[in-house]
Structures are given as structure tokens and as C-alpha cells.
């Protein structure tokens, strides 16, 4: 009965709200997906945070810091959305530290030059937008509304990143080389952000039926590639895929084989920065414990005084 009412609402494009009945698996799927999304925003602060103190101008410094601060805000927002499903932020962070919750593998790649700030904004935020625009129509109300809010900021990030790339691509020979190198390193990991190919994606079935996910991994990936190729051409950079070719019949780009061995190896913890990212997060969390404890103790004392 419940189950039918639930599916009917979804089929009618109505949002599911926190107090509505929902199947356990729907709840579990959402917690996994939203928390993974939240953790990605937070861990994603590190590769870009890496360059804040070295940003090359006052303007660049402010833009980058504001961007990373936005990501922290997105994380906060998504943790709250996840909490509406009956799980605490503390528990979610614990799951991250215990390796039970994942975050996007893209953040396990290092940022090695200033051009990477361009590549990350342009490609990583660009890929995130394609995914998040689609998720604005997700069936869970708090998640959907979160995506609407977040998408606006992400499109700024994408433009700012592209601006850095464009600036460097027309700069000195060294700058142009840095820009091309950043594109070379971030291209494949970016298009793998959409996850495994549909033929290897076990969870897509229910997620589509429940309208948590609105488009398949491959459809989103294609959309991103079609949008991005022209942008690279405009600034004179080359996408590192010899098989990339416009397909008249499909009105889309054909592209080369992705390295799924590398993808799975990074997902399973063996990327260049997996250990570093998690250790960084744990360290900040552990070092902040005395501060959180003090704030709690102080609040308690104030309560006693008030009563």
C-alpha cells in the first residue's frame, strides 16, 4: 500500500519529503549518495586549498578562497539534507574516516601547478554541474532543493576555472605548457567522474525507477564531453584523446577507451592522494576536538547559569 503510494508520487514527479514514508532501500540509497556528495565537497577543498597561499595575485587569491569556502558551504548544506534522513553529521564523518563512506575519486589526484586551479574549476566543477543540474529533478525534496542552490555557485566556479585556463593558454610559453599539462592530467579523471559505464553500473536500476538518478552515467558523460570539446578549442588547448571525433550521425563526439583499471584502483584506495586526503581530514578533526569540547563545556555552563 505504502509502497504503491510512494511509487505513484514519484511517477507523478512529486517530491518525497523527510516525513513521508519511504522504502528502506530508498533511504539507504539516498544516505549513501548524499553523504558521498557531501564528503566530496569537503575533501574537494584540499586539492584547491593547496594553492590558496600561493595564488599569484590578490584577485586570484580572493576568488580561489571564496570558491573553496563555497564548497565548504555545499558540504554543510548536503550534510543537513542527509540529516533529514535520520543520520547525524558526526556519524557521517565517522563513516568517512572508517573508509565506509566514499567521496569522488577525482580529489585523489594532486594539484601540481597553478594551472590545475583552472583545470579543476573548468573540468571538475564543469562535470559536477552536469551531474547536479540533472539532480535538481531528483525525487527527494531536500536533496533537490540543495542542488538548485548549489548549481548557481558551481557555474561561477566553472567560469572562473575556465578563465584561469584561458589566461594561461594565451600567456607565456611556460604558462601555456602548464595549462596543457593540467588538461592532460585532469581530462580522463574528469570524464570518469560520471562513474562506470551503464553496462557495469549495478545500482542504476532502482535509482532510476525511484528517480533519485534522472540520467545514466553514460548520458551525462556524453553531455559533458560535447559541451567541453569546443571550449578547449577556443583557447587553443588539445584534449588528450586521439580518438575524439565528431560523429555526424549521433550529433555527438565519439571518444576513446577510458582506463577502468585505474578508475577502480583509485576508488579502492590506491590513487595518488587517497591516504593524504583522508589523513588531512582526520588530523583537522582530531586537532579540533579540544575546541569542540571547550565550546560544549562552555555552552553547558551558560545553560546552568540561565536555569
Amino acid at each position: 500500500m505504502n509502497e504503491k503510494y510512494f511509487q505513484d508520487r514519484i511517477d507523478a514527479e512529486k517530491k518525497i519529503e523527510p516525513k513521508d514514508w519511504m522504502p528502506d532501500d530508498y533511504r539507504k540509497h539516498l544516505i549513501r549518495q548524499i553523504s558521498q556528495h557531501a564528503h566530496s565537497e569537503i575533501i574537494g577543498m584540499q586539492p584547491e586549498g593547496n594553492w590558496i597561499t600561493r595564488a599569484p595575485s590578490l584577485r586570484a587569491k580572493m576568488i580561489l578562497l571564496a570558491k573553496v569556502q563555497d564548497e565548504a558551504g555545499h558540504g554543510l548544506y548536503l550534510y543537513s539534507a542527509c540529516e533529514t534522513l535520520g543520520i547525524s553529521r558526526e556519524k557521517l564523518v565517522r563513516q568517512l574516516h572508517e573508509g565506509k563512506a566514499k567521496y569522488s575519486s577525482i580529489f585523489n589526484y594532486p594539484t601540481l601547478s597553478w594551472a590545475d586551479m583552472g583545470a579543476v574549476g573548468w573540468l571538475v566543477d564543469g562535470a559536477a554541474i552536469v551531474n547536479q543540474v540533472s539532480l535538481q529533478r531528483t525525487s527527494y525534496g531536500p536533496y533537490s532543493r540543495g542542488m538548485v542552490k548549489i548549481c548557481k555557485e558551481e557555474s561561477f566556479h566553472q567560469r572562473q576555472g575556465y578563465e584561469i585556463m584561458a589566461e594561461m593558454a594565451k600567456g607565456t610559453a611556460e604558462q601555456k605548457a602548464m595549462a596543457q599539462d593540467a588538461l592532460n592530467r585532469f581530462w580522463w579523471p574528469s570524464i570518469m567522474m560520471f562513474g562506470p559505464q551503464d553496462s557495469d553500473s549495478p545500482r542504476t536500476g532502482n535509482a532510476m525507477k525511484w528517480k533519485i538518478k534522472r540520467q545514466t552515467n553514460d548520458a551525462l558523460r556524453q553531455d559533458f564531453i560535447d559541451k567541453t570539446v569546443g571550449q578547449a578549442e577556443v583557447i587553443g588547448l588539445t584534449i588528450p584523446d586521439p580518438d575524439l571525433k565528431w560523429n555526424e550521425v549521433r550529433q555527438s563526439y565519439d571518444f576513446g577507451e577510458m582506463n577502468w583499471d585505474e578508475f577502480w584502483s583509485v576508488v579502492n584506495g590506491n590513487g595518488p592522494c587517497n591516504k593524504q586526503r583522508l589523513a588531512h581530514h582526520k588530523k583537522a578533526h582530531d586537532q579540533g576536538k579540544w575546541v569542540r569540547d571547550a565550546a560544549k563545556a562552555y555552552a553547558k555552563k551558560q545553560e546552568l547559569v540561565a536555569n
Binding site: 569537503i42 577543498m45 584540499q46 586549498g49 590558496i52 597561499t53 600561493r54 595564488a55 599569484p56 595575485s57 590578490l58 584577485r59 586570484a60 587569491k61 580572493m62 578562497l65 571564496a66 573553496v68 569556502q69 565548504a72 558551504g73 558540504g75 554543510l76 550534510y79 597553478w114 589566461e167 600567456g171 607565456t172 611556460e174 604558462q175 588531512h280 583537522a284 586537532q287 579540533g288 576536538k289 579540544w290 575546541v291 569542540r292 569540547d293 571547550a294 565550546a295 560544549k296 563545556a297 562552555y298 555552563k301
Partner: protein
């Protein structure tokens, strides 16, 4: 170098270096909310620095704001030594910021009355932000001072260590005096009693003991710094120095 140029640069340098220190907290905060708050403060400081550098660049007429920030050496930086001190832990950072925020609050309140219209406008704009910074650091000082035994010890120790950098805030040199006489500069020494009173009140609330005035460091105005500044600059200026012909 005109006196007004140097005076403006001194203000900009303290804002920039404190902003730089605060930006080191990004992704390292004790909570996500604090991470965001510290980025906010850092952004405010960079914004203030940018405003004062723009004005200095205009007065100078040969260098841009970015050149002033990214192409000067340690001996050419005039910030207070207090702001270049390490973040170390959240408590130390809040103590350092608190001591400086109280000063900044009083300083900008006075500077907003300056006869120099640009300085006055920049000061008024900064003052709004500094009021928030002061509220933020005082609230944390009280929370940490009156939190747990551990947090009290930590901030009390930090207070003792950083105290020696507070004397410099109130110094007046010939340049200050010259501009004070023209109605442009702030009389730093006259801010001391109000600074004492705000600091003392907050320390009482925070259950912290005011350290004795002993040795006081000096030198910022002359471009003399602690060892930390060289590292801050080498990190901050790296790209501008390594690729001098590049535009960013």
C-alpha cells in the same frame, strides 16, 4: 617615497599578512562552520589589503597593487609582527586575532575621521568588518578561556607568548607624528587605554589572567620582522617571483 604612501602600505601589509595566516586555516578548521568563518575573515583581510594597496599604488604611480604585495622583500614589509606569528592551534590563532582585532577596531574608528578622504573611506568600510572579527575572536576567547581546563591552559599560554608583540601596536615614529599633525594619521599611543580596558574586560569574562608587561618586540615599522615573515613571503610570492614575465 611619500609619507602617506608608506603609511598606507603599513596598514595594507598588516591586513595582507593576517589574511594570509587566516587562509592557512582553510580545510583545517575545528568544525566546518569555523572553517567557513575563518575563510570569511581571511577574505575580509584580503579585501582590506587590496583597498589600501590600490590607494598606495595610486600614490606611488609606478607600481600596481599586486607588485606591492608580491614583489617586495621582508625588509620592505611594514606589518605588525603580531600578525605574522604562526597559527599554531585554534586557540593561539584566536588570541592573536583578538589582540589585533581590538587594536584594529580602535584604529579604524579613528582613521575613519582622517582628513585624507580615501583613508577615511577605506577605514569606514573596514570598520564594519573588523567589528565582526572582534566579536568572533572575543566570543572564542571567552568560550575557550571558560571552557575546559585544557582549553583554558592552552589560551592562557598563547596569551603569555603573544603578549610581547602588543607593545608595537601603539608605537609612534616620526612619520606617524608628521601625518598626525596634518590630521591624516591616527595617534596610536592614544588608543592604548581603551585597548587596555576592552582587553581587560574580555579577559575577566574569559577567566584568563593578563600577562605582565615585560620585554616588548619592536621593528615592524622599520621592516624588521620575526623569522616567520620570510617563509610567508616565499610561499605567497612564489609564482610572481618564479615567472616574472607572466600575467595571471
Amino acid at each position: 617615497m611619500s609619507s602617506l604612501f608608506t603609511y598606507t602600505l603599513r596598514i595594507a601589509d598588516s591586513s595582507l599578512i593576517l589574511g594570509q595566516r587566516m587562509s592557512e586555516w582553510c580545510s583545517n578548521g575545528p568544525t566546518l562552520e569555523e572553517d567557513i568563518a575563518m575563510s570569511n575573515i581571511s577574505l575580509d583581510m584580503f579585501g582590506q589589503a587590496n583597498g589600501f594597496y590600490q590607494y598606495a599604488a595610486q600614490l606611488d604611480g609606478t607600481k600596481s597593487a599586486d607588485e606591492l604585495a608580491f614583489r617586495r622583500n621582508e625588509r620592505e614589509f611594514f606589518n605588525h609582527q603580531l600578525v605574522e606569528q604562526e597559527n599554531r592551534d585554534f586557540g593561539t590563532t584566536m588570541v592573536r586575532n583578538f589582540l589585533h582585532d581590538v587594536f584594529n577596531f580602535l584604529f579604524y574608528t579613528e582613521l575613519s575621521k582622517s582628513k585624507d578622504e580615501t583613508l577615511s573611506a577605506l577605514a569606514s568600510k573596514s570598520l564594519k568588518e573588523v567589528k565582526y572579527h572582534l566579536r568572533h575572536s572575543s566570543n572564542w576567547l571567552v568560550r575557550l578561556g571558560d571552557g575546559t581546563g585544557e582549553s583554558n591552559t592552552k589560551v592562557q599560554d598563547a596569551l603569555k607568548e603573544l603578549w610581547m608583540y602588543t607593545g608595537e601596536l601603539f608605537e609612534m615614529d616620526n612619520l606617524d607624528t608628521e601625518l598626525l599633525n596634518n590630521g591624516i594619521a591616527v595617534d596610536n599611543s592614544a588608543l592604548k587605554s581603551e585597548w587596555d580596558s576592552i582587553v581587560n574586560k574580555t579577559l575577566v569574562k574569559a577567566k584568563l589572567t593578563r600577562p605582565e608587561d615585560a620585554y616588548m618586540a619592536t621593528g615592524g615599522k622599520k621592516g624588521l620582522h620575526t623569522e616567520y615573515l620570510g617563509f610567508i613571503l616565499s610561499e605567497m610570492q612564489f609564482l610572481q617571483r618564479a615567472y616574472p614575465d607572466a600575467k595571471w
